[in-house]
């Protein structure tokens, strides 16, 4: 059995990264030119890593399935990026960011990694500013901040509601600079379909050119997977349609352990599902919770009237509204962490207080923000004795300036004007904290195979705080991997180019082509999406916001059933040697069908509740997550053994030296 | 071959279009100012106009400017055709269905066509008057100047000739309606405060100048 070695450096927590960087090996510039690195995925982690490694002198090959590196799904992150700059002088520090993140993750993250993340967070902002990322600024020309859930300081930097886009375009521009120089070879519309392991080391990948269908072999001394999360296993999520687990799953099957697969983040503020045709869910930025108040009716009859369309939110008088987050969590109010807010919404809706026709929605109401901002604005504009209408109008203007694009987006999708009627929101799958298990150097259990960003499991424990995903992606790509990969590659300076005409590459390619041939010759009757939708429903109902042992056991059986039917009855039209989007989907869903089972198995094994993993059997009398630190303060790392249901569990114990484990309280 | 930024690039072509275009706009004002004399159809007015015509074709400084003008017209036309050809090539397969009216005015999209029509008009116009003035067989007036006025009056006594002028001025109006403000944009002269003003002046210019130009043949036709 492989022993998990997290390779956490010795020494005090605030010296670990500095000392580690000072002692690991580096590769001399002349030798870097002899080393090839493959980067799969071009989001924040991949784009940043590819650009940084090319700049250092490595030969980089970057891959993405989109038609351009700029379209990776990091682009859709709205709210912001955290950094311990303490520009607001509100008591922020590296330690506080570290502490908030560990606590927010419900004490299931690795301390050393989180501390490093907090340490480099400030550099990210400086780096992005230097790259020309247009962050929001105040009238003095300095960087502005906002607050996010789960913290009591303002440390989130933002670019209106499009922070992810701006950061990604920053990384993309750095990447394209290297492409222009010839230091990065860009392979867009290429999908990685397998990792090739030679003598126990990752030495390349098999990729399919999505335009021509050609199966290509690419050799390299190291392979970096920056391929994002697997939220699409739920079919409906806020992920892009193409987001998938295939790269990570293939790596898993080649020996990389999968960490904490059951930790899924359900984001509380998404636009509710409108019908069976729905292909994806749209997130409304968490920043809206700065000013919007979440409520449902206090009286069941009011809720029923709203569900039946006889009343709407405006008809419910103030005293009959239940601002349940403010009621339950006075200290953090509407800004409790995502897992807490989501579960609270589910609890109210399950109790019958939902506010749309399916009963699966709660109100996000800006009327008090309109009033508050309107009064301030009236003062600013020196309007004496403004009328309530005037205040409302001014307040709406201020809110429009802050969140206009989000309000427009809502109206466009929901067909209702959110300035006039409170928004309706409901939780949706958003992010996966789980991912490939990596050590402190971001290396998986396969030497030479690294995982960065959402694709790894490392920094967020059982729940990620808002505005921390962007931070992690860029930290891994810009500031961690350039050091740690050098330590690994120092052994490879004399290896020479990796040959791709070896039996290992032959075998991997054959597996890929066989699978494609199976799909195309299958003669089934149902499209891929049929199976994907069924899988999603099982996952959402039984491995979603709340789980229990019985449901999870059922889910495993159902997933096996769907998987069996899928292989027998899926219909994939078209040919292998052309652009074939159904074929692409088939491959991805096949992997989701195995991953889903592992997620359920992981959830079933973890007999406690923590963060995004809420087991109904384990809760406090107030309905909060009840951890079991004595038995479950570990990271689950699953080893593939040939069958999804027979995965082998390894445990990485979590040692907390800095943070005291307590019941998370946001009251 | 590296393309010279100030000659070969797409942007440079646009600067030259804008610069020559604006120069032609200035010329239009001067030309109109002189030609408005034609509205005075008295014998005295006739002599004054012929004297003006002589001055315009012989005074050295004016001659220099006129060569610049010919060059501008030719360059504007040549460059415009080149741009139009490149633009056509940039979309080898056309749309089956296009609702261009939803996002732009028809005349802004048809500048090449409008410009070509203006060019055709210019050929007719210059053949009719400019060529005759320079190399034609014109009689002399009482002051001994070439009698361009009589030639003009004779031309504008023919309805079809007047019609060509009126229609051509309408074409010019649409060309200017887009061209005037567009030239400023091409030169990078866009400012939230001044652009609305430029646009309004452009509309004014595009309407007033061609209307007055068209007024001359119509007036002369009616009062012949």
């Amino acid at each position: 059995m492989t022993k998990l070695d997290s390779k956490i450096p010795a020494g005090p927590i605030d010296r670990k990264w500095t000392d580690h960087k000072g002692h690991i090996r580096v590769v001399a510039p002349a030798n870097k030119r002899r080393i090839d690195v493959i980067v799969v995925g071009t989001g924040l982690a991949g784009g940043a890593a590819a650009a940084s490694l090319a700049e250092l002198g490595y030969n980089v090959k970057a891959f993405c399935f989109q038609d351009s590196a700029r379209r990776a799904h990091s682009i859709a992150a709205q709210g912001g990026i955290n950094a311990a700059k303490n520009y607001q002088n509100d008591g922020d520090s590296v330690y506080r960011l570290f502490y908030d993140t560990v606590k927010g993750g419900d004490y299931r993250a690795r301390e050393a990694n989180v501390y490093r993340l907090a340490e480099v967070s400030a550099n990210i902002i400086d780096q992005c500013v230097a790259q020309g990322v247009p962050f929001a600024r105040d009238y003095g020309g300095l960087l502005d901040n906002r607050s996010f859930g789960g913290v009591q300081v303002s440390r989130t930097f933002y670019a209106r509601g499009q922070t992810g886009q701006q950061l990604l375009l920053g990384a993309y521009s750095a990447l394209m600079r290297q492409v222009g120089k010839g230091a990065v070879q860009m392979f867009d519309r290429h999908e990685m379909l397998d990792v090739v392991v030679v003598d126990g080391k990752a030495r390349g990948i098999i990729a399919r050119n999505l335009i021509t269908g050609e199966i290509e072999r690419h050799g390299a001394h190291a392979v970096l997977l920056c391929t994002g999360g697997y939220g699409n296993v739920f079919f409906l999520s806020t992920n892009a349609m193409g987001s998938n687990v295939t790269a990570a799953w293939k790596a898993h099957k080649r020996g990389a352990f999968f960490g904490n697969p059951c930790y899924t983040q359900i984001h509380p503020t998404c636009i509710p599902v409108s019908g069976t045709h729905q292909s994806k869910l749209t997130l409304m930025s968490e920043s809206l919770r700065n000013d919007g108040r979440i409520w449902v009716p206090k009286k069941l009859e009011d809720a029923r009237a709203i569900q039946e369309g006889r009343k709407n939110g405006k008809d419910i008088p103030e005293e009959d509204r239940d601002y349940y987050l403010e009621r339950r969590y006075p200290a953090f109010g509407n800004l409790v962490p995502r897992d807490v807010a989501s579960r609270a919404a589910k609890e109210r809706c399950d109790a019958g207080f939902g506010v749309n026709k399916t009963g699966e929605a709660v109100f996000l109401d800006f009327s008090s923000a309109f009033e508050r901002y309107g009064k301030v604005e009236a003062n600013v504009r020196k309007i004496e004795n403004p009328s309530p209408e005037e205040i409302l109008r001014l307040g709406k203007e201020v809110v429009a300036a802050k969140y206009g694009n989000l309000f427009d987006m809502y109206e466009n999708i929901a067909g209702e004007n959110p300035y006039e009627r409170p928004m309706k929101i409901y939780p949706a799958v958003h992010y996966t904290m789980g991912g490939l298990w990596v050590d402190y150097n971001l290396q998986t259990t396969v030497p030479g195979l690294f995982a960065l960003g959402e694709a790894n499991f490392s920094d967020h424990g059982a729940n990620r705080l808002g505005a921390s995903a962007l931070m992690q992606g860029l930290a891994d790509g810009y500031f961690v991997i350039p050091y740690t990969v050098g330590d690994y590659l120092a052994d490879d300076i004399r290896t020479g180019p990796i040959k791709t005409d070896t039996p290992e590459f032959d075998a991997a390619e054959k597996e890929v082509t066989d699978r494609i041939a199976h799909f195309l010759n299958n003669q089934g009757t149902k499209p891929v999406d049929d199976f994907h939708r069924r899988l999603g429903k099982v996952m959402w109902n039984k491995c979603g916001m709340a789980r229990n042992a019985q449901g999870l056991q059922e889910a495993i059986a159902e997933i096996r059933q769907i998987r069996e039917e899928f292989w027998k009855d899926v219909r994939v039209p078209g040919k292998a040697d052309e652009l074939n989007q159904e074929l692409e989907k088939a491959g991805r869903v096949a992997d989701f069908l195995e991953l889903g089972e592992l997620m359920c198995l992981d959830a079933l094994t973890r007999n406690e509740s923590c963060g995004g993993h809420f087991r109904e059997e384990y809760q406090t009398p107030e309905g909060e997550a009840l951890r079991d630190d004595e038995h479950y303060a570990f990271t689950s790392a699953w080893e593939w053994t040939g069958d999804a249901g027979a995965a082998n569990l390894h445990k990485e114990p979590l040692v907390f030296e800095e943070v005291k484990l307590t019941q998370r309280s946001y009251k | 071959m590296a393309r010279s930024a100030l000659l070969g690039s797409s942007l440079a072509k646009k600067y030259w279009m804008a610069l020559t275009g604006l120069f032609l706009c200035i010329f239009l004002i001067a030309h109109l100012a002189g030609n408005l004399q034609l509205l005075d159809m008295s014998p005295d007015g006739q002599l004054k106009f012929n004297a003006y015509a002589k001055f315009m074709t012989t005074f050295p400084l004016v001659k220099v400017v006129s060569y610049l003008l010919y060059a501008s017209i030719l360059f504007h036309a040549f460059d415009g055709i080149l741009l139009a050809l490149q633009n056509r090539k940039a979309r080898p397969v056309r749309y089956h269905y296009e609702k261009a009216g939803a996002n732009s005015t028809w005349y802004s999209r048809q500048m090449a066509l409008l410009g070509t029509l203006v060019l055709v008009f210019l050929v007719i116009h210059m053949k009719g008057f400019w060529y005759e003035m320079h190399w034609g067989d014109l009689g002399l007036d009482a002051d001994g100047n070439k009698d361009l006025y009589t030639l003009v009056a004779a031309a504008f006594s023919q309805p079809w000739y007047v019609a060509i002028y009126v229609v051509s001025m309408a074409v010019l109006a649409f060309h200017l309606l887009h061209g005037f403000a567009s030239a400023f944009q091409s030169l990078g002269l866009n400012h939230p405060r001044y652009t609305p003003l430029i646009k309004n002046v452009g509309v004014f210019f595009a309407v007033v100048v061609p209307v007055f130009f068209a007024l001359i043949p119509v007036w002369m036709f009616i009062n012949a």
């Binding site: 520009y87 230097a130 790259q131 020309g132 039209p573 | 690039s9 749309y95 996002n103």
Partner: protein, 253 residues
């Protein structure tokens, strides 16, 4: 809420060398809550079940930010409606019995790959020519607040930077010009102090690449600004024109 019956006329082209043609498809039971792409999903589902080749189209985030989707619907880039991409176009914009024309972006620089999918890699090459600030990714830089940036400049730079690179500007321009795309990037960096040192080199290089790709010339019709899902202003094109003239007259050789 009833459902709609629609007739779609869609461009089908099996590959780059195929001539391609418009093909008619009836679609029933379209709900007004569907997005346009979800409606195409429904059609594709049916095509697959019938053993036909589904319609290929680019799409990914389905929330109007990745810039993948790219359909020319009823004669307009991203269809009717302003400030939205095709994935944000909802069927409530249409009515029962409508005939809807769907074509790919058309430009020589955006060759059709299959059906409604085009190759927009020209944009990447333009970006690689100069759409960046040449800083190392070391993080050992000056503090982010070391150079204050006037809020107006930061906001304008952001407005330009919101470009999603979808190519609607090219698709909609009667000349297939890429000026709005290129100008947005040039303008973003020109407005920020961090972008100034390379501003001249950048604008010359990006325009040169733009011309090389075979895009048409800008004739200021303003159609791009109207159809741009992010409402990027023509002011940025003017700024690029200024930058370009300054760069060309002051460059060394």
């Amino acid at each position: 809420m009833g459902t709609m019956k629609l007739t779609l006329k869609i461009w089908r082209q099996s590959g780059p060398n195929d001539k391609g043609k418009m093909v008619s498809y009836p679609v029933n039971d379209v709900s007004e809550d569907m997005s346009f792409l979800e409606m195409l999903d429904v059609l594709n589902d049916e095509l697959v079940r019938n053993g036909d080749d589904p319609i290929a189209f680019d799409h990914d985030c389905r929330e109007g930010i990745c810039g993948s989707c790219s359909l020319f619907i009823n004669g307009e880039a991203h269809g009717p409606g302003r400030g939205i991409t095709t994935c944000q176009l909802h069927m409530r914009k249409f009515k029962d019995g409508d005939v809807i024309q769907v074509e790919p972006w058309r430009a020589g620089a955006f060759p059709v790959v299959k059906d409604l999918v085009v190759d927009r890699s020209a944009f990447d090459r333009i970006q690689a020519a100069g759409g960046f600030v040449s800083v190392n990714t070391s993080g050992n830089l000056v503090d982010g607040n070391a150079i204050p940036i006037p809020k107006n400049d930061a906001d304008s730079a952001f407005d330009a930077a919101t470009c999603i690179g979808c190519g609607a500007c090219v698709a909609t321009c009667t000349n297939s010009s890429a000026m709005l795309f290129v100008a947005a990037k040039v303008s973003q960096f020109a407005l920020l102090p961090q972008g100034r040192p390379e501003a001249r080199k950048r604008v010359l290089a990006m325009v040169e690449q733009m011309d090389k790709e075979g895009f048409g010339n800008c004739s200021n019709t303003g159609a791009c600004e109207v159809e741009c899902p992010k409402g990027i202003s023509l002011e940025h094109i003017a700024r690029m024109n200024r930058e370009y003239v300054a760069a060309s007259v002051t460059k060394d050789r």
